[in-house]
């Protein structure tokens, strides 16, 4: 069985444009806004820094572990936790437990909502699809790590070469 894909965030190149945010909210809720987006951008304008905050798809997911009703539970097929709105009582335990702040309470229902990898969308999660910089990608961690390994190695080799010449 092939490995499950995950959303991978690379904050170094995020432009902070929030295309992911508007795409996410439009796809899931049919309206556009930061408050209904499953992914968030934290910006620090003064220093020109932007960070993506979204569900990292934890294997031992704290959100599922603390849920008192079993509403938030791991979906073994998708490889990510999902919230069953029928079971959710809106206690915010999962939102508090998430180490990244990737779970919010919905302004209409008062219940928890989070990333579901845009279940059913052929092109994959809209945030990664619309990301202009590549700061959000949707790929298998093993392949992503292979790419990263080679990239870092090349950087080291290049630095060493400059050192020799310099």
């Amino acid at each position: 069985m092939s490995e499950q894909k995950k959303l991978i965030y690379n904050n170094e190149i995020c432009t902070g444009c929030r295309s992911c945010v508007v795409g996410c909210s439009l796809y899931h809720d049919g309206e556009c806004g930061k408050v209904v987006s499953r992914v968030a951008i934290v910006r620090n304008e003064q220093h020109g820094e932007s960070y993506v905050v979204g569900c990292d798809g934890c294997t031992d997911a704290p959100c599922a572990a603390v849920c008192p009703t079993g509403a938030c539970a791991m979906d073994p097929v998708a490889g990510i936790t999902k919230v069953d709105a029928n079971k959710c009582i809106g206690c915010k335990e999962c939102a508090n437990a998430c180490p990244f702040g990737a779970i919010n309470m919905h302004y209409k229902t008062g219940k928890a909502f989070k990333c579901d990898l845009c279940e059913g969308r052929d092109e994959g999660p809209v945030c990664a699809d619309w990301c202009v910089s590549g700061a959000i990608s949707y790929e298998t961690p093993t392949i992503a790590m292979k790419g990263k390994r080679r990239e870092k190695l090349n950087e080291r080799l290049k630095a060493a070469k400059v050192g020799e010449e310099g």
Partner: protein
């Protein structure tokens, strides 16, 4: 309500009164939003003879029905006021995220009027609006004041519109910022905000924009965002920012070296986007929902300015206080000046225009070091330029005179008429760093007729002649003439400017970024109509879409007409008409010897516009056709008055 928030916020700083006014369906349909709403308010609420600094004058911030939605680049805001620089119609447009935030807070427009007794800022927390003391923020650079406000309000995720010290000092070309670095540069909006004792508008919006047809909207956005992935202009803008123009400008001979005396320079590549990306680029920045992300964040890494960081630069940000003032050898001087104009909150274009005009006066012996307070204003003198930017921002020394803008400065100094030849302005505003003898004759025409003074690379933004060649068949499709994609020709240019001005005006009404629709042509009118209808649930057609733009252009034109500004003033700086483009040591420069044949294009342009060729006023027929009956009535007695003053000398600025 879909798309729009459905109300505008009006704040009177004299009385402290805060009102929310509903916007009717007819009003929204007629003006759409952003620039349309703002221009309507300007025309009907700010009389032509009013001083721009009069407390009764308005400053408007407009968002559009697309603001905050998933369409490409929906974070723009139009800032409109009576321009203290030109005395006429003034507006400017900025990116960033504040526009979307205002929409999420529930407003389509914010109108500020009156004058506070002491410096204040506005805190818009959704439906709660509060006027707060800003005395401790007065005099602070935006990059320092922004975090102070965030800390004070206990929320670092809010977005803030702000002016810098230049706006507080009412420098006539001060600008407004949001998100610290995104400027609404032109026409001096910052000075009017400063005149009202308003430092900032902090905003938290926790609402959403409702979409009438989400599925349709998702389909359109998917399609457009896919198109951007391979769009040729997007790739250049994303890689190198708008500085990607530098090498193109140098090749085509519109690099404004030494105040437009030359069109090229052998060292231009020093300040190109390519060099910038290699040496000082820290980060790429995107405005709200943007698939291009042309914004830069810069960190100077060596030399005496090492360690300085700032948001930007853009092409038009770097060129005026750099190459236009003769500075190109050490790019760090150029980047440093960009940071300074940001800090003070100055329109970099006008600031560079004023300094380079003074440099040319100095070169021609019209002024000496006695006038300049000892500054040797020779082209390329980076130290003097830096000192002058500080002086202008603080309104001190010779800078206090230049802070009035180049034309007013010439008169204040009592210089002969000849001095105005070197200010490179029309209707009181200086041109951006784009020489129409090389950039394109369409741009030249656009500079002459634009409805916010002389700048107006953003009035028509007729890139059909600049990037048009990257989209084969596009000029044929839109204008019926493929040869219009060549810059240095008059073919099809009158219609191009007419078409692009209308198209750009509606785009500003929607408040989406014109880089998605005019630089890059990935989004065309049918796409815009499609996403507008998907968002609002209405049934706009392409014809109606263009007509709204035409209505806005004609209304703004009429505002100038009320100032006795018409056909006589529809010209470009004489340099472009009289001086053939000289060589300057760049052997691949393509336009040597060119002048701008403005008079070959103007009559045809008036015909497309249905403007009277003698006065340059919109005809009564045209105004009525656009539903501007009240404007037709206003202009009726002024037509003969304008003609009877035909012998009057060209006015360089108004009120």
């Amino acid at each position: 309500m879909y798309g729009w928030a459905g109300q505008r916020l009006r704040v009177d700083l004299t009385t402290g009164e805060i009102t929310k006014e509903p916007l009717s369906y007819e009003y929204r349909r007629k003006w759409i939003g952003g620039r349309g709403f703002n221009s309507e308010v300007m025309y009907n609420e700010v009389p032509a003879n009013m001083d721009p600094f009069d407390p009764r004058a308005r400053v408007c911030f407009g968002t559009g029905p697309m603001s905050g939605t998933a369409a490409p680049s929906t974070g723009r805001v139009t800032v409109t006021c009576k321009s203290p620089l030109t005395g006429g119609f003034g507006d400017s447009n900025m990116g960033g995220h504040w526009g979307a935030e205002v929409k999420y807070a529930g407003y389509d427009q914010i109108i500020i009027q009156g004058r506070a007794k002491h410096p204040v800022y506005l805190w818009i927390d959704d439906d709660k609006v509060e006027i707060r003391d800003a005395r401790h923020l007065w005099g602070k650079f935006p990059r320092d004041a922004d975090p102070m406000i965030k800390q004070e309000l206990g929320d670092e995720d809010i977005h803030i519109m702000m002016i810098g010290p230049a706006g507080e000092n009412m420098v006539r070309f001060a600008c407004a910022f949001n998100d610290v670095w995104r400027a609404a540069g032109r026409t001096g909006t910052g000075a009017v905000i400063g005149s009202k004792n308003l430092k900032a508008i902090a905003t938290r919006g926790s609402g959403t924009v409702k979409i009438a047809d989400p599925k349709k909207m998702m389909d359109v956005c998917n399609r457009l965002r896919q198109a951007f992935k391979t769009d040729p202009m997007k790739i250049g803008l994303n890689m190198f920012g708008s500085l990607c123009l530098i090498n193109v400008a140098n090749r085509d001979g519109w690099f404004p070296w030494n105040n437009f005396q030359f069109g090229s320079h052998p060292l231009a590549n020093n300040v190109s986007g390519e060099s910038h990306a290699e040496t000082v680029l820290k980060h790429r920045e995107g405005c709200f929902a943007c698939p291009i992300a042309c914004g830069r964040f810069t960190e100077i890494r060596d030399g005496k300015y090492a360690g300085e960081t700032f948001g930007g630069p853009e092409y038009e940000h770097a060129v005026p206080t750099g190459p236009r003032c003769g500075i190109v050898e050490d790019p760090n001087d150029v980047w440093h000046n960009c940071r300074l104009t940001n800090d003070y909150g100055l329109d970099a274009i006008e600031c560079g225009g004023a300094i380079s005009s003074a440099m040319e006066w100095f070169q021609r012996g019209l002024i000496t070091t006695k006038d300049t307070g000892g500054l040797e204003l020779t082209f390329g003198n980076a130290d003097a330029t830096e000192k002058l930017i500080h002086q202008i921002g603080q309104r001190k020394g010779f800078g206090a005179i230049l802070a009035e803008g180049a034309d007013r400065a010439a008169d204040k100094l009592g210089l002969p008429k000849e001095a105005h030849y070197y200010t490179i302005t029309t209707r009181g505003m200086t041109l951006p760093g784009d020489d129409p003898r090389g950039l394109g004759f369409g741009y030249g025409l656009s500079f002459a007729v634009g409805t916010r003074g002389g700048c107006d690379h953003l009035r028509s933004l007729c890139c059909l002649e600049l990037s048009g060649a990257l989209y084969p068949g596009l000029n044929t499709k839109l204008l019926g003439d493929e040869s219009a994609n060549k810059p240095v020709t008059t073919n099809g240019k009158s219609y191009m400017v007419y078409y692009e001005e209308n198209q750009k005006a509606t785009t500003d009404c929607l408040n989406v970024c014109c880089f998605t629709t005019h630089w890059s042509y990935a989004v065309l009118t049918p796409d815009q109509v499609e996403y507008l209808n998907a968002v609002t649930g209405l049934d706009f057609t392409e014809e109606e879409f263009q007509e709204v733009g035409e209505r806005v252009v004609n209304l703004e034109r009429a505002y100038w007409n009320k100032h006795m500004s018409g056909a006589r003033e529809d010209t470009v700086p004489e340099r472009f008409l009289k001086e053939p483009m000289p060589e300057n040591g760049v052997d691949y420069q393509t336009n040597i010897g060119a002048t701008l044949p403005l008079n070959e294009m103007l009559p045809q342009y008036y015909k497309y516009r249905d403007w009277d060729s003698k006065t340059g006023f919109p005809t009564e027929r045209k105004l009525k056709q656009l539903g501007l009956e009240n404007v037709a009535k206003d202009l009726a007695p002024l037509r003969s008055k304008y003609l009877s003053e035909a012998e009057k000398k060209n006015v360089k600025y108004y009120v």
